[in-house]
Structures are given as structure tokens and as C-alpha cells.
């Protein structure tokens, strides 16, 4: 009965959603409002005023920097949330056979996998950095690069054969906390420098060179901060 109700509900909801989407302007047609209004302005002025060949990046870091600031804050907050929620219970003793404590009883890692992972890690890291640094010209950017970097670090932690530590534990804990907050903090810095140099909070400098530098700085902040957050999430889940 409940299943049936759920089905009916979902069908009704789906019908409504489809009705809405069907009535939207046809995607891809050049005269739909999406393309003629604000986006047209971005396309026209994005390279010059937006300061990035990749218009997505121009929108993210320049036109709508405050949105991105909010987004990195959400990511950072998610880590804080997980830390706050999991560690309160403390390291819990668990019973039962199906629960695997990753810290003590680990699935043995095949040496081949371990070797391949270690071999690939530098290349993955390089790719991540490339995505971050070139994000204003090519597809990609801080978010994507950060996720790749974070995935690489988690991969290492899982398969490198070491059982006790994730890589970021190699860092002093104080520094780790700073890196995790890198995303919101670089945007905070941007907000203030923008005010000092061009009179608006969250504005990028006018000079092309400095603008590019600032963008790279932001991408690195987002990326490295994001990677640290992801590793932190993984760690908190594993230990919590």
C-alpha cells in the first residue's frame, strides 16, 4: 500500500515537472531568454571584462564571485559539520562481524594495485594542478582540480599499503586547519583586496597580469582547500 502511494506520488510529481519543462523555451534555440539576456552579455564581454577565456570561470570568479564564496563556504562547513557530529560520539567500540573497522582490520591490498596507485599518483597530482592553474583558459578550475587532488590523496591513503595515516596527517595539525579553510579565506582576502584596489568588494584588479595572478590564486585556494576538505571528510568518516 505504501509502495503504491509512493508510486502515485512520484508519478504525479513527475507529471508536474515534465509539464513545466515541456513548457519551457526550447533549449538550444538562439532566441530563448537564456541566451539573449544575461548570457549574451557574458559572451560579449567575458574575455575582456571578465578576464578569462573560459567563460564559466569568468562567471564563477569574477561576475559572481560572491556565489563562489558561498559555495566554498558550504564545502568548508560540511567538513566542520562532519567533524562536529562524528567526533562527539568519540571512537566507538563496535561489535558484530559485518562491521569492518578500517583502522585495524584492513582488506589486504594487492601489491600490484599498490604499485600502480603509487606510480599514478604524481601524474594525477600534476593533472590536478594543471586543471587548477589553467582553469581560466581551459575547461576546469579550482573545484575540479581540487576534487581530483583530493581523490588522489584518498586513493593513496586507501591503497598505498600504509595502514595508519592519511597523507595529510603528515602535515602539522595547525597547518592542516589553515589549509582546510583556504577556500573561504582566499575569497575573504579577495573581498578586501578588491575593496582596496578597485573600490568594490569581490572585484578583481583591472590590470590583466594581476587579474590573472589573482584568478590563479583563487583557483589554487579553492582547489587545495577543497582537496583538504575532502581528505578531512574521508578521515572523519573513517575514524568517527
Amino acid at each position: 500500500m505504501r509502495k503504491f502511494l509512493a508510486l502515485v506520488l512520484i508519478a504525479a510529481l513527475g507529471a508536474v515537472l515534465i509539464a513545466a519543462v515541456v513548457n519551457l523555451p526550447e533549449p538550444g534555440t538562439t532566441d530563448s531568454p537564456v541566451h539573449t539576456h544575461v548570457s549574451a552579455g557574458y559572451i560579449k564581454g567575458g574575455h575582456e571584462a571578465g578576464g578569462a577565456d573560459n567563460l564559466v570561470t569568468a562567471v564563477l570568479l569574477n561576475y559572481r564571485a560572491i556565489d563562489t564564496f558561498g559555495e566554498v563556504t558550504v564545502i568548508f562547513t560540511a567538513l566542520i559539520a562532519v567533524l562536529a557530529a562524528t567526533s562527539l560520539a568519540g571512537p566507538t567500540e563496535r561489535s558484530g562481524t559485518q562491521n569492518i573497522d578500517l583502522k585495524t582490520t584492513r582488506v589486504p591490498v594487492s601489491p600490484v594495485v599498490s604499485f600502480v596507485v603509487r606510480l599514478m599518483a604524481p601524474f594525477i597530482a600534476t593533472f590536478a594542478l594543471f586543471v587548477m592553474l589553467k582553469g581560466h583558459e581551459l575547461p576546469g578550475g579550482g573545484f575540479q582540480g581540487g576534487v581530483v587532488l583530493g581523490a588522489m590523496l584518498i586513493l593513496l591513503a586507501l591503497f598505498s599499503g600504509r595502514t595508519d595515516k592519511t597523507d595529510d596527517e603528515e602535515l602539522p595539525p595547525g597547518l592542516r586547519n589553515w589549509i582546510r579553510a583556504a577556500g573561504p579565506l582566499v575569497f575573504g582576502a579577495l573581498g578586501l583586496t578588491g575593496l582596496v584596489f578597485s573600490g568594490w568588494l569581490f572585484s578583481l584588479p583591472d590590470h590583466p597580469f594581476w587579474r590573472e595572478m589573482v584568478m590563479i590564486g583563487l583557483e589554487l585556494g579553492i582547489g587545495i582547500g577543497g582537496a583538504a576538505v575532502l581528505v578531512g571528510l574521508f578521515r572523519a568518516l573513517r575514524e568517527g
Binding site: Y63, I80, V82, G188
Partner: protein, 494 residues
């Protein structure tokens, strides 16, 4: 460009960056995080006051973040609803003061910085939500304060808090998704995310179906955040099991974001020529009326003090929505003022209750018998706030109820006036019950006899809030005058 306009971005930037700094700065000295959080929220408060001064001098104003003119950049916009940030910052400040002695007792010492970081980020998200003039930005900051709110609920001890936080998280995520979906629909039809711009361009949209659906999705999404009946189910659990200062913050401030979200929605859609808001408004009235009665009745049967207070939030949200739904100048301004007044009252209630529970270690109402004798000031503050939440004149709760009742009469709904009054009476019933228990019954529990009055940091926050929840009632007229220009766009449709 006067300096005050930068404040519009700074009220967001300062608390969030402050919050992000806390875990890094205070890893070694967790308890010192308190002072830093206090300072940054005080700074935020000062900035928001300067914003209000400019608002009074020049009227509503905008700030183009990054210097990009709307609709290309994100426009922050400050109007008289946005002025609520001053009150919310003030409440956050007081909650922080209260937390000084409370939080170390419930949170492991190493995690204290996390708590303060979350509170500050929550404040930043709230401020961003209130001052933004951009739909997507609205969503982003909604996520900022929502995620921090989920986490704050989860900070309490015990499995109950965890479950409550999960429940809150699930419903919150669905509501966020609905809002995001609606924003997508609006963007697809108008090509813009700027609220004012979108409002002007919606009329030209090819089809009315997606517009109506966007309106519906926004309404439902914000209804969950505002905990309007019947989407309030997450609230009693979350607000009852969270640590007291968090409950105060959530009930006083965070649910109001949903209300303001609905106000923004109504403002955006009120220009629409062919879309009638009338059915939506009568729906809000009905749901509000049921919420008033249901919340009050449910609160009556609670034995847990904080759970009872949580249900009183359901009631008061109902009042606000009745006022918004009626939509006449009288009722809408009453609802707008009640947003603020209820924030103050509810913060007073939860903090006072938190102090009583904290000092005695008991949370069931019956166990608290005679505690008024041992903790006279906290109990007195709770009593005053209870009378205020019931709307006894001339307390702060009366203003909204009077205006809403009057609005119901003006629009020819005498029964609705009856609901407003009966709701107040029911609230008064349990208010009296608690006052009775605290002051006029002999102690039942040995821990009551050994309890001591709350420490000064807690008392300061409680007494200030309780006094405000009385005094704001006397300031009803200036407050109504203040919101009057802001509710005009709402009343045009009503």
C-alpha cells in the same frame, strides 16, 4: 558610494571569514574562540546598524558585488526586511555570550572552536540570505546557513540529536532542491537571476505553467525552512534536542529565513499580470490557522520543556503566515513585526529554559517544580517571555497578534480573528502551567533544591532578551511605521 554600502557585502564576509578562521586560530586554545566569535559578531552588528542608518536616510539601496552592474553581477539589496539582520546579529551576539559557560558543558573541549565557527557561518549565511537581490545567491546562502544549522543540531549529545539532525537534513535537502529547481525554471524563462530583473521579465515568458510551478516549488521549499504546518515535522525534534543556545538560534532566527524567503517570493511574483497570488495566499492563511491551533495543542501535551517551546515556534510561524496571507497593510505589517518580535521572545524563552535545564540537570516540566525559588531571575525571565509569546498586552507578542486580528476583521474574516485569539489563549494556558510549576509548587526533585542561579554571562543574555520581549511591545508603533513601506508590494496583491 558611501562607505555604508560596502557594509552590505561585509555583513556576509565578516562573519563567514571569521567563522572560517576560528578552527585554525584556536586549535590550541579552544575556549578563547569565544572572544573572537563575540568580536566578529559585534563587528557584524555594528556594520548592520550603519546599514540601517543609511536605509533610514536614503531609502533602500543596492550594492554591486565586484562592481558588476546587475543583472550581470550579483546585486546585494538592502530594504526594510533586510534590516532584520541587525536583530539577528544582536540575537547571535547574545547567544554567543550565553554560550560561554553553557557550551563547554555539552561539547568536548577540542570541538568548541567548531561550534563557534558554525554559529558565525550561520550568521553569515543568514545575513547573505537577507541582503541578496539575486536568486542563485539566495540559494547559496540558504545552503550556507542550512548546512551549519544541521551541524549545530548534531552537536548535542545523545542519539536523539543525531536522528533529529538527519531528519532536519533530509527535509532541508529536499526543500533546497525544490528551491534550486524553481530558480532553474525562472532562469530558463527569463535568462536572469536578478530578482528585480526576473520579476519584470516573468510576464513576457512564453508559458505560464513553469512560472506557476516555480512559484509552487519556491513556496513549498521555503515552507519547509519556515516549518509551516504540515511541513513542520522536523522542527520539534531538531529544536528540542539541540543545545539550548542552538535551539534559540534556530527557532528565533533560522526559521525566519524561510518566512523571508516566502516574502521575497511573493514580492518577485506580485508584478506578474496573469498569475494570481490569491489562491496561494488563502492557502497560507489556512495552513497558518491550522499551525496556530495545532502547535498550541501539541505544546499543551508536552512534558519536555524544550519540546514545548519548539511547538510554540510552530504556532508563531502560523501567526506570521496568517498575517502574510491576509495581505492587508495592517496584517502584513503585523506579520513583519512579529518576525522580529518572535525572534526576540523565542531567543529569550530558549535561553532561559536552557539556563534552568542546565543548572538543574532536569528537563521535564514537572521535575522543575519550585525552581523559581532557587533561580529567581532566570525563572522570571522565562515567565515574562512566556507571557510575551502568548501575546499578553503590552508585551512584544501582542503587536503582531493585534494587527493580524485586526487585519482579519478588515478583510471580513471574523473567524480568523477567533483563531488568533484562541491560539493566544492556548499558549497562555501552558505558559501559566509552566509559571505555576516554577513558582508555586514545592520542589519535587532534590536537584532543584541544590540548583544555583545561572552564571552572569548566561543571565546577562537572558535578562536582556526578556526585557526586550517586554519593551518591544511598547515600541509597536515605530516598528510598524518602519516596516510599512516594505510591505506595500505585498499588499498590492491582497
Amino acid at each position: 558610494m558611501s562607505a555604508a554600502a560596502h557594509g552590505l557585502a561585509l555583513v556576509v564576509l565578516v562573519p563567514i571569514v571569521g567563522g572560517a578562521l576560528i578552527p585554525a586560530l584556536f586549535r590550541r586554545f579552544p575556549t578563547a574562540a569565544w572572544g573572537f566569535a563575540l568580536a566578529s559578531s559585534a563587528l557584524t552588528l555594528a556594520i548592520s546598524i550603519s546599514l540601517i542608518r543609511r536605509l533610514l536616510a536614503e531609502g533602500p539601496f543596492s550594492y554591486a558585488a565586484g562592481g558588476w552592474p546587475p543583472p550581470y553581477g550579483v546585486a546585494l539589496h538592502f530594504d526594510r526586511f533586510g534590516a532584520a539582520i541587525a536583530v539577528f546579529s544582536m540575537i547571535t551576539l547574545l547567544v554567543l555570550i550565553f554560550s560561554r559557560r553553557y557550551i563547554p558543558a555539552v561539547v568536548p573541549i577540542a570541538r568548541i572552536p567548531l561550534y563557534y565557527a558554525l554559529v558565525m557561518i550561520n550568521l553569515g549565511g543568514m545575513n547573505g540570505f537577507l541582503v541578496t537581490g539575486d536568486l542563485f545567491n539566495l540559494f547559496v546562502f540558504m545552503e550556507v546557513f542550512s548546512v551549519s544549522a544541521y551541524a549545530l543540531v548534531a552537536m548535542a549529545r545523545g542519539p536523539q540529536a543525531g536522528l533529529a539532525a538527519i531528519k532536519y537534513l533530509l527535509l532541508g535537502a529536499v526543500s533546497s532542491l525544490l528551491v534550486l529547481f524553481a530558480i532553474g525554471l525562472i532562469f530558463a524563462q527569463t535568462g536572469t537571476l536578478n530578482m528585480a530583473d526576473a520579476a519584470g521579465r516573468l510576464d513576457a515568458a512564453a508559458s505560464i505553467v513553469p512560472t506557476a510551478l516555480a512559484l509552487g516549488a519556491l513556496t513549498i521549499g521555503f515552507m519547509v525552512k519556515a516549518a509551516l504546518f504540515p511541513l513542520h515535522v522536523w522542527l520539534p525534534d531538531a529544536h528540542a534536542s539541540a543545545p539550548a543556545p542552538v535551539s534559540a538560534l534556530l527557532s528565533a532566527v533560522v526559521v525566519k529565513a524561510g518566512v523571508i524567503g516566502i516574502i521575497r517570493t511573493l514580492q518577485t511574483f506580485s508584478d506578474h499580470g496573469s498569475l494570481q497570488l490569491m489562491p496561494l495566499q488563502s492557502l497560507l492563511i489556512w495552513l497558518g490557522a491550522i499551525a496556530v491551533l495545532w502547535g498550541a495543542v501539541a505544546a499543551l501535551v508536552q512534558s519536555d520543556l524544550k519540546r514545548l517551546l519548539a511547538y510554540s515556534t510552530v504556532t508563531n510561524i502560523g501567526y506570521i503566515f496568517i498575517g502574510l496571507g491576509i495581505g492587508s497593510a495592517t496584517a502584513a505589517s503585523g506579520a513583519a513585526v512579529h518576525i522580529i518580535n518572535h525572534a526576540v521572545i523565542k531567543a529569550a524563552l530558549f535561553l532561559a529554559a536552557g539556563a534552568l535545564i542546565h543548572q538543574s540537570g532536569l528537563r521535564h516540566i514537572d521535575d522543575l517544580r519550585g525552581l523559581g525559588e532557587r533561580m529567581p531571575l532566570s525563572a522570571l525571565a522565562l515567565g515574562v517571555a512566556l507571557l510575551a509569546v502568548a501575546g499578553v498586552p503590552p508585551t512584544a507578542g501582542f503587536v503582531g497578534k493585534w494587527q493580524i486580528g485586526l487585519g482579519a476583521l478588515e478583510t471580513g474574516r471574523p473567524l480568523l480573528m477567533g483563531v488568533v485569539i484562541v491560539g493566544g489563549l492556548l499558549v497562555l494556558t501552558y505558559g501559566v502551567r509552566i509559571i505555576n510549576t516554577l513558582f508555586f509548587r514545592p520542589p519535587l526533585h532534590v536537584r532543584v533544591v541544590t540548583s544555583r542561579e545561572a552564571p552572569p554571562s548566561m543571565l546577562a543574555a537572558i535578562l536582556l532578551l526578556a526585557a526586550s520581549s517586554f519593551l518591544l511591545g511598547l515600541a509597536g508603533k515605530p516598528m510598524l511605521d518602519f516596516v510599512a513601506p516594505a510591505i506595500l508590494p505585498l499588499t498590492d496583491t491582497g
